[in-house]
């Protein structure tokens, strides 16, 4: 009960501190907005950046219409603008009215290699996706064409030999295989790798949440030293309250503030930046619970191994920055080499970040147990180590 009194008092003090509010709540929202917008064009996945594709095709046939329809498919964020002439397409490109140019020459569909893709600078990732889609489409078309030819030839031969042919069955089987191929093509193109499937805004919302919640380790430790400096800690110890209750109060205070911070951040990013935190808020809160627990534990470690506020500030800031960098809060984990990705697994924020992004794209509860256990373990270990040292202090 007394621990809770101390915790609520600490959380209230943090919330009254304008500097802390600016740093812990407004800053991550602002950074999410800036980084999420700035890196919109370079982050791939199902959230392909909005692309205007200029297409010139002198000949309109089933193949050209089909590829254009595929490119315009919902979920790809591609707007197709048809140019009347090749020159018009080039003009558009020069004026940057389109991001990528595509020329489908006469006869395209038979000789599919001749399609020309022209990206403008800065839109390389979009052009790469379009190129992959066209290649896939071409391969599929060739397969279908080849299969059709083979079946029809076989049928013709059998017919010539006087064998009985059930054309209806052949047609049905052909249609079924074509549909299957078309579906496979769709899956291949649209389904991105999971890690890349969140938008840049989503990724940085998760990244900033993981990073700025980590700052509570520093804030919690500073609060401890502040109490010691102003003698309120001594005064607390003169009340009929055990040392364990006081430590628990400081721990819960940090934990509570991390929660308030996260809830505010989640609400703000959802309503102001339209960040989709996934379909299960319960899963988000589940991971936030364990992450806040780990962070509160780390605050005790920082408090235990620093001597004053200034030192806690320096050690905490440096620690948060290193962990943020390693844990993918500054640069997406996807761009890390394999070795660094493995090192990232040692940081609590990377466990929180990957869990948040997984939840955003939809994940099972079973996938969240391991991160939860790891984060809980970090918290418990921190409490265990720090409680010995802090009680001695």
């Amino acid at each position: 009960m007394k621990s809770l009194l101390i915790a609520v008092k600490d959380a209230k003090i943090h919330l009254k501190d304008r500097k802390a509010i600016l740093m812990m709540i407004l800053m991550p929202i602002l950074l999410t907005a800036i980084l999420g917008s700035a890196l919109k064009g370079v982050m791939g996945g199902g959230s392909m950046p909005e692309t205007v594709l200029g297409v010139y095709s002198p000949e309109s046939n089933a193949m050209t219409e089909n590829i254009i329809q595929t490119l315009e498919a919902e979920g790809l964020a591609i707007t197709v603008e048809r140019a009347g002439t090749e020159k018009q397409l080039m003009d558009w490109m020069e004026k940057k009215e389109v991001h990528v140019g595509l020329v489908l020459p006469e006869g395209w569909g038979v000789d599919t290699d001749r399609a020309v893709i022209i990206p403008i600078i800065g839109q390389e990732s979009s052009s790469l996706i379009i190129q992959q889609m066209i290649e896939t489409f071409a391969q599929m078309s060739q397969t279908i064409e080849h299969a059709t030819k083979t079946v029809m030839t076989e049928a013709a031969v059998m017919s010539a030999n006087g064998a009985e042919i059930d054309m209806a069955t052949i047609q049905y089987e052909l249609a079924e295989s074509v549909e299957k191929v078309v579906n496979e093509q769709k899956i291949y193109v649209i389904e991105p790798a999971k890690e890349e499937s969140v938008s840049s805004m989503q990724y940085y919302a998760a990244a900033m949440a993981a990073m700025f919640l980590l700052f509570n380790a520093m804030v919690g430790a500073k609060s401890f030293h502040q109490e010691r400096k102003t003698e309120t800690l001594s005064r607390l110890m003169m009340t009929p309250t055990s040392g364990h209750s006081i430590l628990a109060g400081k721990f819960i205070g940090t934990f509570l503030f991390a929660w308030v911070q996260f809830l505010f951040f989640m609400g703000a990013t959802h309503y102001l930046l339209q960040v989709d935190w996934g379909s299960s808020n319960l899963q988000v809160f589940f991971i936030t619970f364990f992450y806040s627990f780990a962070v509160a534990g780390l605050s005790m470690i920082v408090a235990a191994f620093t001597t004053d506020e200034k030192m806690a500030d320096v050690v905490g800031s440096m620690g948060v920055q290193v962990l943020a960098l390693l844990g993918g809060s500054m640069l997406p984990l996807a761009v890390f080499p394999e070795a660094l990705r493995k090192i990232a697994m040692l940081t609590p924020n990377s466990w929180a970040l990957t869990s948040f992004t997984s939840i955003m794209t939809g994940t099972d509860w079973s996938a969240l147990w391991l991160p939860a256990i790891v984060l809980f373990g970090v918290g418990i270990l921190s409490i265990f180590i720090s409680s010995f040292r802090l009680r001695a202090v």
């Binding site: 102003t230 003698e231 309120t232 005064r235 003169m238 009340t239 009929p240």
Partner: protein
């Protein structure tokens, strides 16, 4: 109420408190005097159970400090030397918090906080944030926080450091009033006038040792030559100096440069006339005469060779 029996404390093999014994009765106002670094705060920390004592025994209301600490903490209220409050919280919120830490329920804490604000004269500033208060107001809330749970023993560690005279007077009046209502008070300071005003019994501590204790009268009687008659004369005649030393009331005579003489008396004012008569008989003209009366400062100086504020 409080008994200290040969209490000792060492840090890193250096003895900080060297066998202090004291007894303070219920309802008493007891002063603990000593210069900075004398060991007053360490002694108080040990009484509060904040730091363990090395040897001896401390009992409060019959309970042994260190063994029945939880019950003892409920009996004592401590006013620390520093402003141990939360600056960004209001006076009322601070009092409520400290009250609840002593086990007061929400409603009881609110009623008591209002009473305490009246006692310290800050009822009209209940909602003000501590960081906006003057030094004196902060000190008054600092005292108020220790009164929330109605302690039987109030321990005040230099509660008037660095404040304006008006706030100091208010604090002294408050403490006097609390004591008159039956609260036992231990008041530590290096301002002897505060201790002289508030306390019936006084202990002087220096370098971890209790060097004197008793009522003000007891301590005054311990002074030898505590009253000093400072004379400035036209000439220092050796015969006059020798005759001065032979007077019954004179403890000692110190001749200083610039024709100055300090005559240490056995504290009686009537002896001044005897000195003046002798000077007149010896043909010595007194240009200036100043009588410095004996007080705790003088006693401290006599006992330790240092002043209280050194």
């Amino acid at each position: 109420m409080l008994t200290l029996s040969n209490v000792k404390k060492s840090f890193d093999s250096r003895e900080i408190i060297k066998g202090v014994s004291l007894q303070i009765e219920r309802g008493e106002s007891f002063g603990l005097l000593g210069p900075n670094g004398a060991g007053k705060s360490t002694l108080i920390s040990m009484i509060c159970g904040l730091i363990p004592y090395g040897a001896g025994e401390i009992r409060i209301d019959g309970k042994v400090v260190g063994k029945q600490l939880k019950e003892i903490k409920q009996i004592i209220g401590v006013v620390p030397q520093d402003i141990a409050l939360y600056p960004s919280m209001s006076a009322m919120d601070n009092l409520l918090f400290w009250g609840k830490m002593y086990g007061l329920s929400g409603k009881a804490a609110k009623i008591r906080a209002q009473e305490v604000l009246e006692i310290v004269g800050l009822a009209d500033r209940a909602k003000g944030r501590i960081e906006t208060f003057s030094g004196g107001m902060k000190r008054r809330i600092n005292i108020g926080a220790a009164l929330m749970h109605r302690p039987q023993l109030l321990i005040m560690d230099e509660p008037t450091v660095g404040i304006d005279p008006q706030s100091r007077n208010h604090i002294l009046e408050t403490v006097k009033s609390l004591n008159e209502q039956g609260m036992t008070v231990i008041y530590t300071s290096h301002y002897m006038e505060e201790v002289e005003y508030l306390c019936k019994r006084i202990a002087i501590i220096d370098e971890g040792k209790l060097i004197a204790s008793g009522t003000k009268k007891d301590l005054s009687n311990r002074l030898a030559g505590g009253t000093v008659l400072k004379l400035t004369v036209d000439s220092l005649h050796p015969l006059f100096i020798e005759e001065l030393k032979t007077l019954n009331s004179v403890e000692k005579v110190i001749v200083k440069p610039g024709e100055e003489i300090d005559v240490h008396l056995h504290s009686k004012m009537e002896m001044v006339a005897e000195v003046i008569l002798l000077a007149s008989r010896s043909g010595i003209h007194i240009h200036n005469m100043q009588l410095q009366e004996a007080n705790l400062e003088t006693l401290f100086l006599q006992l330790t060779g240092r002043t209280l504020r050194e």
